[in-house]
C-alpha cells in the first residue's frame, strides 16, 4: 500500500536529473547553451560587422575570399565576412526561436488548460481551431502571408507560432484531463474554490514543465521555419539570418563555384538547432510521453 502516485512537482527535479544522465538530453541542452552564448556575445565574438563590405589591402572588394586567418570562413560574393554573419545569424535565430517558443507556450498552455478543464463546447471550439491551424499547408501559408504583410522578423514569429501552437495545446490538454480527476482537485471544489482558482493554482503548475519542454522543441523548429522563409526569399532582407545566408549563397551560385565555406556552416547550424529539439524530446522521453500507469 505504498504511495502509488507520481508527484508531478518532482518534474523539475527529474528534468535536471535526466540532463545529467541521458546523453541525448545533455546534447540537446548543450547545443542550445552554446548557441545562446554565441548570440549573447555576438558583438565580442564576431570580428566584423556582418553587413560591412570588406576591402583587401590593395583596395579591391574582398569578395569570394577563401577561408584564411583574416576571414575564418571566407567572404561572400559582396565581400562580407561569413563567420561574422554566422555569429550574428545565431542572434537572429535565437530571437525568432525564443519568441516563437514563448508565444507557442503561452497560447498552447492557455488553450490546453481551458480546453481540458471545461470540456464541452469550449473544448470543441478550441480543438477545431487547432485542427485548422494544423491542416494549413506550411509553404503556401507563408507565401500568402508574405504577399500581404511586410516581411519582417516579427511577422515571421507570428506566422510560425500560428502554425505550431496546436501540438502544445493538445499535450497540455491531455495532461489537464488526467489532472482534473485527481482527488485534490475535487477537494478544492468541495472547499469552495472557483474554477479559475483551481485551474491556475492546482492544475497549471503541474502542466508548465511539459509546456516548457515542448517550447524548447519549438525553438529549433521555429528557426528552421524562419530559415525556410528566408531561403525562399520571403524573409526580411535587413537582418542577417542563416536562411538569408543560404539564400545569398544560392543566388550567387556558390555551389558551382565550390564556395563550400559559405553555405555549409549556416546549414549545419540550422541542422544543429533542429536536432537539439529532437534530442531534447528523445532525452526527456519518459517525461514527455509517459508510459501508461496501471
Amino acid at each position: 500500500m505504498s504511495a502509488g502516485t507520481e508527484p508531478s512537482y518532482g518534474l523539475t527535479k527529474k528534468i535536471l536529473r535526466l540532463t545529467g544522465r541521458d546523453p541525448f538530453a545533455l546534447a540537446g541542452i548543450s547545443i542550445y547553451v552554446v548557441f545562446a552564448l554565441t548570440a549573447l556575445l555576438a558583438n565580442v565574438i564576431a570580428p566584423h560587422d556582418p553587413m560591412e563590405i570588406l576591402f583587401l589591402p590593395d583596395g579591391n572588394v574582398a569578395m569570394n575570399q577563401r577561408p584564411s586567418p583574416s576571414y575564418w570562413l571566407g567572404t561572400t560574393s559582396l565581400g562580407r565576412d561569413v563567420f561574422s554573419q554566422l555569429v550574428f545569424g545565431a542572434r537572429s535565430a535565437l530571437m525568432v526561436g525564443l519568441s516563437a517558443a514563448l508565444v507557442v507556450v503561452v497560447v498552447g498552455t492557455l488553450v490546453g488548460l481551458f480546453s481540458g478543464y471545461f470540456g464541452g463546447w469550449v473544448d470543441n471550439v478550441l480543438m477545431r481551431i487547432g485542427d485548422i491551424a494544423l491542416s494549413i499547408p506550411f509553404l503556401p501559408f507563408i507565401i500568402v502571408l508574405a504577399a500581404f504583410v511586410k516581411p519582417n522578423v516579427w511577422n515571421v514569429v507570428i506566422g510560425v507560432s500560428a502554425l505550431l501552437w496546436p501540438n502544445t495545446g493538445r499535450i497540455v490538454r491531455s495532461q489537464v484531463l488526467s489532472l482534473r480527476e485527481r482527488s485534490y482537485v475535487e477537494a478544492a471544489k468541495v472547499s469552495g474554490a472557483s474554477h479559475l482558482n483551481i485551474l491556475f493554482t492546482h492544475i497549471a503548475p503541474n502542466v508548465l514543465p511539459i509546456s516548457f519542454l515542448y517550447g524548447s522543441i519549438v525553438v529549433g523548429w521555429a528557426i528552421f521555419t524562419e530559415a525556410s522563409i528566408s531561403f525562399l526569399g520571403f524573409g526580411p532582407s535587413d537582418t542577417v539570418s542563416w536562411g538569408f545566408m543560404l539564400q545569398d549563397a544560392f543566388v550567387s551560385q556558390a555551389l558551382s563555384r565550390g564556395a563550400y565555406y559559405w553555405f555549409i556552416p549556416s546549414g549545419v547550424c540550422i541542422m544543429l538547432m533542429v536536432s537539439a529539439g529532437f534530442f531534447i524530446s528523445r532525452g526527456y522521453e519518459e517525461l514527455l510521453f509517459p508510459k501508461l500507469r496501471d
Binding site: M1, S2, R17, D294
Partner: protein, 332 residues
C-alpha cells in the same frame, strides 16, 4: 529435507536517496505441502523477500548475504539460465496487482499458451487442451479463453493470473497480496479457490499480505515481519491465538472482529523506522508500549520456543501472557 529454506538473507536497495536495508537477516523454512503467510505492514520487507525467492529482484536490489536453498540447492549460486529453468516450473510467482499486469492487447489464451509453450515446451495441441483445463481449474467459463483481459472483472483476472502461475504445475506458489484490491465477496471467492487448489494439487504456498485475516483463513504457519526483520514465527493458531511479540499483539487487536462485541479498537501509534538508518536496538522499541532500555539499546535475539516450533525476537517474550492482558491498557 524442507522444500525451501532461507538462511540469514539480507537485501539492500540502492537509490539516489541512499541505501535502504530492506531485509536484514531473515530465515525461514517451508515444508512440502505447507502454506506460509508473510505478514506485516508496507515496507516491512515481505515483498522484497518474495521477489528475492523468485530470483527476479528489481534492478537496484542487491542480496548482500544469505542463502536460498530450494530442495537443498542454493538458488543464489545458480546462473541466470539455470534459475530461469526453475521459474514457472518449480515455483511460480503471482506479483502484486497481477490482474493489472496482463497484456491488454493479447488474448488470454495466447498469454497462457506462451507460458505453456515457451517455458513448458508443450506442443500446440497439448497446450490448447491444457488452457481449457486451467480455466476449469480456476473456475472460468471455457468459452471465454479467447477474450481480452479488459473484458474480465478484477476477480476473474486474478483467477487468470493464478491459472498462469499454475500452468506448469509448480510445487511452490508465491502470491503477493493476491486479494488486496478486491471486494469482500470476490476476495472470499478467490481465497476459497486458493484453498481448494491447494488441496487438489498439494501445493506449497507462500502468501504475502498485510491482512492478518487472510493469513488466518488460508495459512498453516505464519511469519510476522517488521522493518526488514522477522519478529515472530509459528503456526497460525499459536501466533494469532497467543502472540508473543507486542507487534503481533497489535496486529491482531487492531483487527475488529465482526462476530464479537464492538468495543474499542487499539491501534499502534507511529510509523516504522527509516530503513536507510535503522535503530540499533529493537526496531519496534519506539512504538512498543512495553519497551525497556534494554530493548532500545540491544537488538533482541531470536529465541526458539515450544520445542522449536515457534520463534520470536523479543526481550520480554517470557512475559507474553501478562503483556497480552495489559495490551489494551498500555496504549493511549
Amino acid at each position: 529435507m524442507s522444500l525451501l529454506q532461507v538462511e540469514d538473507l539480507a537485501l539492500d536497495y540502492r537509490s539516489h536517496r541512499g541505501t535502504v536495508h530492506a531485509l536484514d537477516g531473515v530465515s525461514l523454512s517451508l515444508a512440502a505441502g505447507q502454506v506460509l503467510g508473510l505478514v506485516g505492514e508496507s515496507g516491512c520487507g515481505k515483498t522484497s523477500l518474495a521477489r528475492a525467492l523468485t530470483g527476479v529482484p528489481p534492478g537496484n536490489a542487491r542480496i548482500t548475504r544469505g542463502r536460498i536453498l530450494w530442495q537443498g540447492q542454493d538458488l543464489l549460486a545458480l546462473s541466470e539460465a539455470e534459475h530461469k529453468a526453475r521459474r514457472w516450473r518449480d515455483f511460480a510467482f503471482i506479483p502484486q496487482s497481477a490482474m493489472n499486469a496482463l497484456d491488454p492487447v493479447q488474448r488470454v489464451s495466447a498469454q497462457l499458451m506462451e507460458v505453456l509453450r515457451e517455458r513448458g515446451g508443450l506442443a500446440q495441441a497439448q497446450a490448447l487442451a491444457h488452457v481449457d483445463e486451467l480455466f476449469d481449474q480456476v473456475g472460468i467459463d471455457r468459452k471465454r479463453t479467447a477474450d481480452y483481459p479488459h473484458q474480465f472483472s478484477g476477480g476473474m483476472r486474478q483467477r487468470i493470473s493464478i491459472a498462469m502461475a499454475l500452468a506448469l504445475k509448480p510445487q511452490l506458489l508465491i502470491a503477493d497480496e493476491p486479494v488486496t484490491a478486491l471486494d469482500v465477496i470476490v476476495q472470499r471467492q478467490i481465497l476459497d479457490l486458493i484453498v481448494a487448489l491447494r488441496r487438489q494439487l498439494q501445493l506449497s504456498m507462500i502468501m504475502v499480505t498485510h491482512d492478518v485475516s487472510v493469513v488466518a483463513y488460508v495459512c498453516d504457519t505464519v511469519m510476522v515481519m517488521y522493518a526488514g526483520q522477522m519478529v515472530e514465527q509459528g503456526s497460525v493458531g499459536q501466533v494469532l491465538g497467543s502472540p508473543l511479540h507486542p507487534y503481533t499483539m497489535g496486529l491482531t487487536r487492531a483487527f475488529p472482529d465482526l462476530r464479537q462485541d464492538v468495543g474499542t479498537l487499539r491501534h499502534i501509534e507511529g510509523s516504522p523506522p527509516d530503513l536507510r538508518a535503522p535503530p540499533s536496538g529493537c526496531r519496534f522499541a519506539a512504538r512498543c508500549p512495553f519497551a525497556t532500555d534494554t530493548c532500545r539499546q540491544s537488538p533482541p535475539p531470536m529465541l526458539e520456543v515450544s520445542q522449536g516450533s515457534r520463534r520470536v525476537a523479543c526481550w520480554r517474550s517470557n512475559e507474553a501472557e501478562a503483556l497480552r492482558a495489559q495490551w489494551s491498557d498500555a496504549l493511549p
